[in-house]
């Protein structure tokens, strides 16, 4: 009885509420540092947090029961507390029995299942038999026994991580094949960059790891080029500026060397079009009367200006900046007479339109086993030998790099690890399979990656799949529409025309689902949650489909709480919270 008294006491209630408020404060702070997935995983979805909420429910229950038998003056008090319990029960029902999934439909597509956020392990036999196993995140081993056409098999799911990352270790194994790799730590105080990178000449898991781009900068590894190759490169750098005009079907196509502009008009195609008043500005500035002027002969802001005239005398004026390739498209609002693509390639320093001229750092190995670096930027080229453990300046801003490792027999090893606490990871399950007490498979299975194994004479395939939940209706997307605010690309609304078919009821519904206007059917709510616009397969709508069985208790509980609070606060006869004998 004493325990019940304490559990239902006001002091306990106040401590619990204060404790909860404090915990939530901490969790929101953690969220701001480590991100939403972190707090969802390590806070809100943990057993201890929900146990704490359960304790609060116990406190509320006992404090309500301890006033029994109720008098009129307890009405408000009982209502508020019963309302909270109702609300918590509703939440529990939703989390246990609710369904929540996504359905992505391209225009014209039809589906009758949703993809959930939980995963299963799928075992596929050659005969096409498919056996799914549910996955639960954690390190608990779960053993399954299954009979396959190749005999009985023991399948153990050893660990399931939903924040796994696949990592590659790069080690130097002198027994392995010749393969070069370098690890660099790039840093810059100014920009706050602190990047550690591996450059691997030949990586079977990622063929692109012999180079790395960061903003405009490029890093690469390779064999030191012969001198004449270098010369060729530098020749390419001083390439003269070129103007290239063409239309969609290339019936018009003209290249002009801007270093050597011909006198007079230049004919464009066979149709009598001509290019006139062609001017090249290595460093363009906007001068008097909005006219372009040249500030110097340095190619700092190359621009070109010209007119195109057709035989009827219709003229269009063109201006193109090498550094701002989009600038012309901004003029797209103006009336276009000639639908031409204008390209200006000019040797501008640091130009983003010309990747050759961005800063680059190359780590080269040489035939005699030594290593050198070559760093290029608009400021020039710096180069020299490199050694492990040394720091070198790149010559661009205050970027420097430290050589952490230089391998000539690099071997790439893959392993699965947990993502850093704030990072996002993918789902991974470590599975081991034994036949006749002999392990025939023991490896990580990842999403979108099928693992094959031989069991006796049979082949089996293992993969992970997001769980599919069949819904009692099919949905077809007829049309997706996005409306922008006039004159902007800001969407003001998006909506989908859908057809819902329920074969069981022989029912067909044509509806429009939009943001804030879901479609309700048989306890399921279908929401417009997102969209895909620029996919090659066309426009697609992403719907969230949810079943929320506890919502009625949540709404009901909330209403009871507020009616009760109203009584407690403003109607004295119904408002005492004191026990019998204490009033």
């Amino acid at each position: 009885m004493v325990i019940i008294q304490i559990l239902g006491s006001l002091y306990f209630a106040v401590s619990l509420i204060a404790g909860l408020a404090l915990m939530l404060t901490v969790s929101t702070l953690l969220e701001s540092f480590y991100g939403t997935p972190f707090v969802q995983r390590y806070f809100y979805q943990t057993g201890w947090f929900n146990a704490f909420l359960g304790l609060l429910a116990v406190n509320i229950l006992f404090s309500a029961l301890s006033r029994f038998p109720y008098k009129k003056r307890h009405t408000g008090f009982v209502m508020t507390h019963a309302g909270i319990l109702l609300l918590l029960i509703g939440s529990l029902m939703t989390s246990l029995m609710g369904i929540d999934g996504q359905m992505m439909l391209f225009e014209g597509e039809k589906k009758d299942s949703i993809v959930q956020t939980t995963y299963e392990l799928i075992v596929r036999e050659t005969q096409g038999k498919i056996i799914p196993f549910p996955l639960r995140t954690g390190n608990r081993e779960i053993k399954h026994h299954l009979n396959t056409s190749a005999g009985s098999i023991d399948l153990t799911i050893r660990r399931v991580w939903d924040n796994a990352v696949v990592k590659t270790d790069i080690i130097n194994s002198p027994s392995g094949a010749m393969n070069h790799a370098a690890q660099l730590a790039l840093s810059s105080q100014r920009t706050g960059v602190n990047e550690n990178m591996w450059l691997v000449e030949n990586n079977p898991l990622d063929p692109n790891s012999n180079h790395f781009t960061m903003g405009p900068a490029m890093f690469q590894i390779g064999e030191k080029p012969k001198v004449n190759q270098e010369a060729q490169n530098s020749e390419k750098k001083s390439e003269s500026p070129k103007l290239h005009l063409h239309n969609q079907d290339s019936s018009l196509d003209l290249s002009v060397n801007l270093q050597d502009i011909p006198q007079g008009d230049i004919a464009l195609g066979q149709g009598g079009l001509k290019v006139s008043n062609l001017k090249y500005y290595p460093e363009a500035r906007v001068g008097e009367n909005n006219k372009l002027v040249n500030a110097s002969d340095q190619a700092n802001n190359p621009a070109v200006e010209f007119d195109i005239t057709d035989p009827n005398g219709e003229t269009q004026h063109f201006i193109k900046f090498a550094l701002y390739p989009d600038f012309e498209s901004m003029h797209a609002a103006s009336k276009k007479i000639f639908d031409l693509t204008v390209e200006l390639t000019a040797p501008a320093a640091g130009s983003s339109s010309n990747p050759n001229s961005g800063p680059s750092l190359s780590i080269y190995y040489t035939a005699d086993g030594s290593w050198v670096y070559v760093s290029k930027s608009s400021a020039g080229v710096s180069e020299g030998p490199v050694k492990t453990g040394q720091t070198y300046q790149t010559g661009w801003m205050d970027f420097s790099f430290r050589v952490e490792n230089l391998f000539d027999h690099a071997t790439v090893i893959k392993h699965v690890d947990k993502a850093p606490i704030s990072g996002k990871g993918q789902i991974a399950a470590e599975v081991s399979i034994a036949q006749n007490n002999q392990t025939i498979f023991n490896n990580w299975v990842l999403e979108n990656e099928t693992q094959a194994l031989e069991a006796g004479s049979n082949q089996m395939l293992l993969s992970l799949q997001a769980r599919n939940h069949k819904v009692p209706f099919s949905l077809q997307l007829k049309e997706f529409r996005k409306v922008d605010y006039p004159g902007t690309h800001q969407p003001s609304s998006f909506e989908s025309d859908v057809t819902l078919v329920d074969p069981e009821e022989n029912l067909t519904l044509n509806r429009t689902i939009s943001m804030n206007k879901p479609l309700d059917y048989k306890g399921y709510r279908i929401f417009q949650s997102s969209y895909v616009e620029d996919d090659p397969s066309g426009k697609a709508s992403i719907f969230t489909v949810a079943k929320n069985p506890g919502i009625i208790f949540i709404y009901g509980g909330a209403i009871v709480i507020f009616l009760g609070s109203f009584l407690v606060f403003f109607v004295p006869p119904f408002s005492s919270m004191l026990r019998e004998g204490k009033s």
């Binding site: 929401f527 507020f562 403003f570």
Partner: protein, 531 residues
């Protein structure tokens, strides 16, 4: 309280000055004012040219004017002499690190487009890096954020120079308006002529032509935009919130320092309070009509609305309890909040909404209920200060103590109900829009923390476990929770679904408020320990 003569005189003077200021009658040379009401399409809606100009100039220079020239004048000059604009040193860069990064003088804050031309590629590189971070849900560094700001400033100057943003011609079909600089018909010539007249200082002809132009546009659009544009002109001419805060402050001073019932000066105080509430309501209604949406869509709007609830509640309480000091304290807080609102760099613009916030019944009720509770808690906070101040400066009778306690508790009760209902309505809205009632989003979590905080207070007070002064202190501390939910979650934590209510900065002013509260409560505790 005994009144202090110099303060009395000062407050009368202030009241007089204020009432004079109510009609703004500043005489200036022609500043393009007649162009104010040209309709222009900008950031998704048709607005007044004045509104457009102010936003453009503020984006570039950080203020609604530059070198003491009003925004409309600047934009007209810019259009008249486009080639000069590239040399105007009006692009503001205040972040020293960025100046160093770009190799610019750290002594200066303002630069011209041409001065920055050499740094374009560098800025673009930083912006690209920053965008890459954002795509990965990482927070860019301060330097990267500032570079993004600078990039949009440069782009805005460029767009102004090309005339691209000047969408003043209604289209014959479609919704996108046209810039005269991107079309080759008569309107182009006509508009250029108007702008040239301004440059040549032929103001009479200019005014006349503007009127013809504006009338024609309204005719072409079937008067559809006449009302919002006219109302917007009224909004900028009257500056209702400016008038309101001055009147609030004056009303507070008079009602506080002149205690004699029925005196003429006190009547003036009441009238000023009435005028303030009128201007406040007027401004609020104007904004609702101009934007055709409830007044709670960004931080500035929610401040104005919260404040309105606060003062209306204060006035009602004063009338019911026949206690003018509640209205006086409400007026003081209203004045402070309005001054804050104008100081904080939270966008005061009249902007359009993201889809999720549009035209939803539940959302409107949810946000308005929540923000109403902030207003009520704000009043409780003010009353808490009043009580603690009186307690320190004079001996309160037990009757006075009880009345103050009762009124603070009442406000808190109403606030708790509104906050609770508002939070649940947020859940209803989330459930109707996304299919989940509760998701531990930081904003909703903080609303819950605030609710829990006040809930503890209600339990303790209901069980008669706390005294009047504890209640008053709690009302102040509780408002700090409100502040965290309202401002802190968006501005400090900066994460979560409600981040569309986001802006930047203003930290310094919130810090001043926190320091004030720390000092105030420190003095209260010190006196209590001594006593």
């Amino acid at each position: 309280m005994r009144s202090i003569p110099p303060l009395r005189t000062a407050s009368v003077l202030f009241a007089l000055v204020t009432s004079l200021c109510l009609s703004s009658c500043d005489a200036k040379p022609h500043d393009g004012r007649s162009a104010n009401s040209i309709p222009i399409q900008h950031s998704g809606r048709v607005k007044s040219f004045e509104s457009f100009s102010k936003q453009t100039v503020e984006l570039i220079s950080g203020k609604e004017s530059w070198q003491h020239k009003p925004a409309v004048d600047l934009v007209l000059q810019a259009l008249d002499k486009k080639n000069k604009v590239a040399d105007w040193p009006w692009v503001r860069i205040s972040y020293k690190e960025l100046l160093a990064e770009l190799g610019l003088s750290e002594e200066r804050q303002f630069f011209s487009y041409n001065e920055l031309a050499n740094s374009f590629d560098k800025i673009e590189a930083i912006v690209q890096r920053s965008q890459a971070k954002r795509n990965q849900d990482l927070r860019p560094t301060k330097l990267e954020q500032e570079s993004e700001n600078l990039f949009s400033k440069i782009l805005e100057v460029k767009r102004l120079m090309s005339g691209e943003t000047l969408l003043v011609i209604p289209p014959s079909n479609g919704e996108t308006w046209i810039s005269p600089y991107f079309t080759n018909d008569l309107l182009n010539v006509h508009f250029n002529k108007i702008v040239a007249l301004y440059g040549e200082k032929k103001y009479d002809e200019f005014d006349q032509k503007i009127k013809v132009w504006t009338d024609n546009v309204h005719e072409m659009t079937h008067q559809k935009f006449l009302m919002p544009v006219t109302l917007e002109t009224v909004y900028f001419d009257w500056r209702p919130f400016q008038q309101a805060w001055m009147a609030y402050l004056a009303a507070f001073l008079i009602l506080t320092f002149f205690k004699k019932k029925g005196s003429k000066i006190r009547l003036l105080g009441m009238l000023l309070l009435g005028a303030a509430v009128f201007f406040h309501t007027f401004g609020l209604v104007l904004r609702v009509l101009i934007l055709a949406r409830p007044p709670v869509s960004n931080m500035y709007e929610s401040m104005i609305y919260m404040n309105w609830i606060l003062i209306v509640a204060a006035v009602i309480f004063s009338l019911v309890k026949k206690n003018a000091s509640v209205a006086a304290i409400g007026a003081l807080i209203s004045a402070i909040i309005m001054i804050y609102g104008n100081l904080l760099p939270i966008d005061t613009n009249l902007e359009v909404l993201v889809p999720v916030l549009r035209s939803n019944y539940w959302l409107t009720i949810h946000v308005m209920t929540i923000v109403s509770s902030y207003g009520i808690f704000g009043l409780a906070m003010g009353l808490g200060h009043r009580y603690l101040f009186l307690e320190m400066t004079k001996k309160l009778t037990s009757d006075e103590e009880k009345r103050s306690e009762q009124i603070i508790y009442r406000t808190i009760q109403i606030g708790v109900l509104l906050l609770g209902i508002g939070t649940v309505l947020g859940g209803v809205w989330a459930n109707e829009s996304w299919g989940r009632f509760w998701g531990w989003d930081p904003k909703e979590t903080w609303a819950l923390i605030t609710f829990l905080g006040y809930l503890i207070l209600v339990h303790l007070k209901h069980a008669k476990l706390i005294q009047a002064s504890t209640l008053a202190i709690s009302a102040i501390l509780g408002f700090l929770l409100v502040l965290m939910t309202w401002y802190g979650v968006n501005f400090i934590l900066g994460r979560g679904l409600h981040s569309y209510g986001q802006g930047a900065g203003g930290m310094i002013w919130v810090t001043y408020y926190l320091i004030f509260e720390a000092l105030f409560l420190g003095v209260v505790f010190f006196k209590k320990i001594r006593a």
